[in-house]
Symmetry: C2
């Protein structure tokens, strides 16, 4: 009963991934190189992600704003590391209104420059602080190799930008937002993540330090899924964000930024989906339940719509599929689309006093009494599915997490079966570069609380400072 | 008691407008020429507008999607009228990833090209139709003269794009969406609009015809506030959107598009606000009620939060201002920000068994019994305010609506006191051009059902065909 439009996941993971996207109508290629079209099913997922995160941000006191999409080159250049980091991926507007522009404008790759420029004009005193802003927008990074959702030239994201009166407060904000992301990944997307600091080499251009959520895909490749940066006073110094502190002295402010993107949709697919298409955790599924009346029977159809009303009233997003297609065709389509629960209403089952609930994750069919409280049955099933998806991913990650004591072990393990390789590191960038030369193995993050199981750097053998997770990445 | 930060509206309307925007913290100028920063209060208005319209669109069966922001020049050029109309305002990306691009990419000024290109690959049969799509995004039009919200180089909007199997169905969609806008303007924004077709000269580049909602600002200047276009088969022919119709023959599809933008926020300000700042209809206000406990009294503060909880539970967005500032300062701030209703809790009033409700629109203070059902009192007051704002604007529009029988009358009236001038027109573009040469007077739209009160063209005196509304515009 495998979906024929979809390549087997274990046979060709890359092809499987694209097949799922196409079959579930999440996105399509466009005639704009490196950019995709977000189709209704894909954009609905993004809207669902937005609605959950936006509420979390607002509950913590963040306000949404919108900055211009174009950044004058001179403004971009005020902070040296940022422009150095982003210039190679820049998209430049050089002509406007039929004229050559005096100054090139960069399509925003990220908006620290504009936020900092704005903050400089607004922040006068410690009484104005903190400012906690966020924006939802599009950005461009001129990637050479692209992959739908995971890496596209234009993508959609949110970028939070905050200013604080003290370093402690800004660092606490960096931690707080990392925790918001971790919670979101684990409790909504059902994707287990590891969190920690990036190394100096891998941190965001212009940050003092970067914290990250790293997830492992089905095939053992890592995905940097969200980041939270502490800037210290770097941007404040460059853009002149000065305030009168409580001691009545001028001081540069302390900043953070944090973001996550539409690549999360790629992560969702690569963690949970299978050879029959998309699999979605109920808490993130835009459509949670489909009700399929089997056969043409007025009474059964009526029952379908009654159940639909009940589910909707309780906040479940459900719909009835009473179209003129065969049940088998409908079942396959709703499976491909990742609807978490299918309610089948068949005459024979009903005669026996039963209703069938089909789970998308395990493809099991469960029978409940037609007189039972279907809303609580389904809500209960949602919890079970949500948990199962998370626990399955967690168990898989555990299988793909290894320890290594020398570089050869790391390389062999990644070759054999990629995943998260724990290994000790001396802190020297030269060792990171050496590791990267081995088939692109990169540090994912530094684990603060992990067991330092060796005192030697996995690369050079000198004294180790940090426990680092290594892997290959999208 | 006039707000000193705000120029008088009757003295200098242009300066008043910018003063209100700054005082209410809706937007700020940016260091990107022609672009503004949407500050929290301004962006919250846009979010409120989005949430209402988005629900209306979805209830009618539209789905949200997202197309790339960059359009290759060759793709843009496939439909001749569109590129001709938009090229002079184009912003072009010519460099990406440190390299000169082989082909210029236009920052989308509108997305008919990409939608049509996409539809061409999806639509095979009449069974695939209609497709009803919408997207929320940013666009750029390289304007020379800009004004916050009303005309900026980058702005935010929604653009709906639909494909249909018949001309009738597509025309019905054009009408249906115009009606959605009219309803939204009148019943949510409390802005009375006139609707009708644009003349050939003023229609959207590439459309068969364009329908418009036109609003009149406080100073009698018109604002084109939303448009709905019927494309017939123009884009379908140019981009190859062909489908097998019911007769099993290939046919080009029929399309529409419709949009409205962040300029609506400018319209809201220019219709309702006054010398004390922003005035917002309750149905569109992001924050509807502020509760101000007067003096430091624990019991009164407790009462404030109890009322706040009650209001919130009933779906009203309210907040308590118990900050350390004087009541006068708070009142002025919440007035500038356009909070529709202020609840004042003062000891003296409470001792007399009263609570004061202050209306922002009329600045009246109403006393209700402290034992009355405050939720229904406030909901009732919302309706009164909403109606008052709409009726006031309507009455003002009536005063600024005139009839003219010859061009001199039109010109003199517009000079004396601008507004909507009704006058008959022969249908000849030459007459429109002559009118425009008189201080930029433009046709706003053709009124289908108005009384043809003269049979002579207001410009040339030849036989009149249409009743046209004329005016000057933002």
């Amino acid at each position: 009963m495998k979906n024929k439009a979809i390549t087997s996941r274990d046979e060709d993971f890359g092809k499987w991934y694209v097949d799922v996207i196409r079959a579930a109508k999440l996105a399509d290629y466009s005639n704009v190189k490196g950019c995709i079209v977000f189709e209704p099913n894909g954009y609905a997922l993004w809207e669902k992600i937005q609605s959950i995160l936006d509420k979390k941000f607002k509950d913590l006191g963040h306000q949404n704003v919108y900055m211009p999409v174009l950044i004058p080159e001179s403004l971009m250049k005020k902070e040296g590391e940022l422009i150095e980091g982003f210039a190679p991926e820049g998209a430049w507007i050089t002509e406007g209104g039929s004229e050559q522009l005096d100054e090139r404008l960069m399509f925003r790759p990220t908006s620290e420059t504009l936020f900092s420029d704005y903050f400089a004009s607004k922040v006068k005193s410690y009484k104005d602080l903190p400012l906690l802003y966020n924006q939802w927008c599009n950005v461009i990074r001129w990637e050479k190799e692209t992959k739908p959702f995971l890496r596209t030239r234009e993508f959609l994201w949110q970028e939070g930008h905050t200013v604080h009166a003290t370093a402690e407060e800004a660092m606490a904000e960096t931690d707080r937002m990392l925790e918001v992301y971790r919670d979101f990944f684990e409790n909504y997307l059902a994707i287990p993540v590891i969190t920690g600091k990036k190394t100096e080499k891998e941190k965001f251009a212009g940050a003092e330090y970067t914290c990250t959520c790293e997830a492992l895909m089905y095939n053992g490749v890592s995905l940097q899924s969200a980041t939270s940066h502490y800037f210290g006073q770097k941007f404040a110094d460059a853009y002149g964000i000065k305030f009168l502190n409580k001691e009545n002295k001028f001081e540069s402010a302390y900043q953070t930024s944090w973001g996550c993107t539409t690549r999360m949709i790629g992560g969702l697919i690569m963690v949970h989906s299978d050879d029959n298409g998309l699999v979605l955790p109920p808490r993130i599924a835009p459509r949670q339940v489909v009700i399929v009346p089997i056969g043409k029977d007025e009474k059964i159809e009526k029952m379908a719509f009654e159940i639909n009303d009940k589910l909707k009233q309780s906040g479940i997003t459900s719909f009835v599929d009473n179209s003129e297609r065969s049940p088998g065709f409908k079942f396959a389509e709703h499976e491909v689309n990742g609807i978490p629960v299918r309610v089948e209403l068949g005459q024979r089952d009903l005669d026996e006093g039963k209703i069938c609930l089909a789970r998308r994750d395990t493809r099991e069919r469960i029978f409940i009494s037609k007189d039972s409280d279907i809303v609580s049955e389904i809500k209960n099933l949602f919890e079970i599915i949500q948990k199962n998806l998370f626990e399955s991913a967690k168990a898989r990650n555990a299988q793909k997490t290894y320890r290594a004591y020398n570089m050869q072990e790391v390389v062999e393990q990644i070759k054999k079966q990629p995943g998260f390789v724990h290994a000790m590191w001396c802190g020297d960038e030269a060792c990171e570069i050496k590791m990267k030369e081995q088939g692109g193995i990169k540090s994912r993050c530094i684990l603060e609380n992990g067991e330092h199981f060796s005192d030697k750097c996995v690369v050079c053998g000198r004294k180790a400072k940090h426990l680092v997770v290594w892997g290959i990445q999208y």
